[in-house]
């Protein structure tokens, strides 16, 4: 009885699943290869942490179709990138170009590291100086020697 119930449940569980039919298989493997190469470099704008090559968003399907037809038209990678950037901006590229507005993006982390390291070096130097500048007085030296030599002090 129970088994039948489970079997029935499993049988009906697929009813709600709607799979998009597979896109017609690519006639040309080279085109598909280039499509994957190009679209891996592009961000899907609907689900921003996914690349255009892996995304299942509606817009991603449309854009891949667009890129595929551009490849078939013999467009270069640069032209295809240009097409995308013209419409969606540099944000669409995972590796934005180096220019005025992206300087901070490219060199910001390096600047932070240089800043942090110089602050650390500065701090350590200043501390070293502070220690050198305060030698022990004779009285303190005597006390230190006494503590170091006396064995009772550990008890």
């Amino acid at each position: 009885m129970r088994v039948w119930f489970i079997v029935l449940m499993l049988a009906f569980s697929t009813l709600g699943v709607q799979a998009k039919e597979a896109a017609p298989l690519a006639q040309d493997e080279a085109v598909e290869k280039r499509l994957v190469d190009i679209s891996s470099e592009l961000r899907c704008l609907v689900c921003q942490n996914e690349s255009l090559s892996g995304s299942r968003a509606e817009l991603a399907y449309d854009l891949r179709r667009e890129i595929r037809s551009m490849i078939k038209d013999g467009k270069s990678d640069k032209e295809i990138m240009g097409f995308m950037v013209d419409r969606y901006g540099d944000f669409v590229r995972y590796r934005p170009p180096l220019k005025g507005s992206t300087l901070l993006l490219w060199f910001g982390p390096g600047l932070f590291m240089v800043g942090g390291l110089s602050a650390l070096v500065l701090y350590l130097r200043r501390r070293n100086k502070a220690i050198e500048d305060a030698p022990l007085s004779d009285e303190e030296q005597g006390e230190a020697d006494r503590l170091l030599t006396s064995k009772d002090s550990f008890q």
Binding site: L45, V46, E58, L59, V85, Y88, G89, F91
Partner: protein
């Protein structure tokens, strides 16, 4: 004193940065199309499918292009705002119906003919206007979303302000709100109409 002051300043700076970060909307990507001519197209009108509309027809006018569709939930939310906006005489609103049939996840567009798709899109659009009102001077059908790609549409609804020379001056991604309308759109349209 100094010992505690600097960490405190650092902490405050961090809090301010994080607070700003929280206010930013990562889905609001600045459009590279601002300041560029509105991409040309020629699409069939919803009210008169045998006629087509192209942005050149609006040369010399300041107008708004609103991307919408009946399956889009946020469009339902923004629609009353558009209807209210359209009452303002300064506003000319053109609708770009984006993938009315293909965009609807419930319909398998591969299985219907182009003619049937067009008919269905017209039916659905007109039913929508009947039910919710029509704020558009006219609306056009972008059945395959190709024009949407030229306009960099990635999240319906979106609204563009286009000036007399056909240049895009402003883009609102996501639903139009009364605040954005009175605070940004209306002053901009008034300035561009001078």
């Amino acid at each position: 004193m100094n010992r505690f002051l600097w960490p405190l300043i650092g902490f405050v700076v961090l809090v301010v940065l994080l607070a700003i970060g929280l206010k930013l909307d990562p889905s609001d990507v600045p459009s590279p199309l601002i300041g560029k001519p509105a991409p040309a197209f020629s699409l069939a009108r919803v009210d008169a499918p045998e006629q087509s509309f192209s942005p050149q027809d609006m040369q010399g006018k300041v107008w708004l292009l609103n991307v919408w569709s009946t399956w889009c939930v946020s469009c339902r939310q923004e629609h009353p705002v558009l209807v209210e906006m359209a009452k303002n005489k300064a506003i000319t609103l053109v609708g770009l119906n984006y993938k009315e049939v293909r965009g609807d996840g419930d319909i398998d567009a591969d299985k219907i003919t182009p003619d049937a798709e067009r008919t269905l899109a017209l039916q659905r659009s007109n039913a929508w206007f009947k039910q919710h009102g029509n704020p558009y001077s006219l609306s056009v059908l972008d059945l395959d979303g190709r024009v949407g790609i030229d306009y960099g549409v990635y999240g319906v609804p979106e609204t563009y302000v286009i000036d007399k020379g056909g240049v895009i001056r402003f883009k609102q991604t996501g639903p139009m709100t009364p605040d954005v309308f009175s605070g940004k759109i209306l002053p901009l349209v008034a300035e561009l109409s001078k």
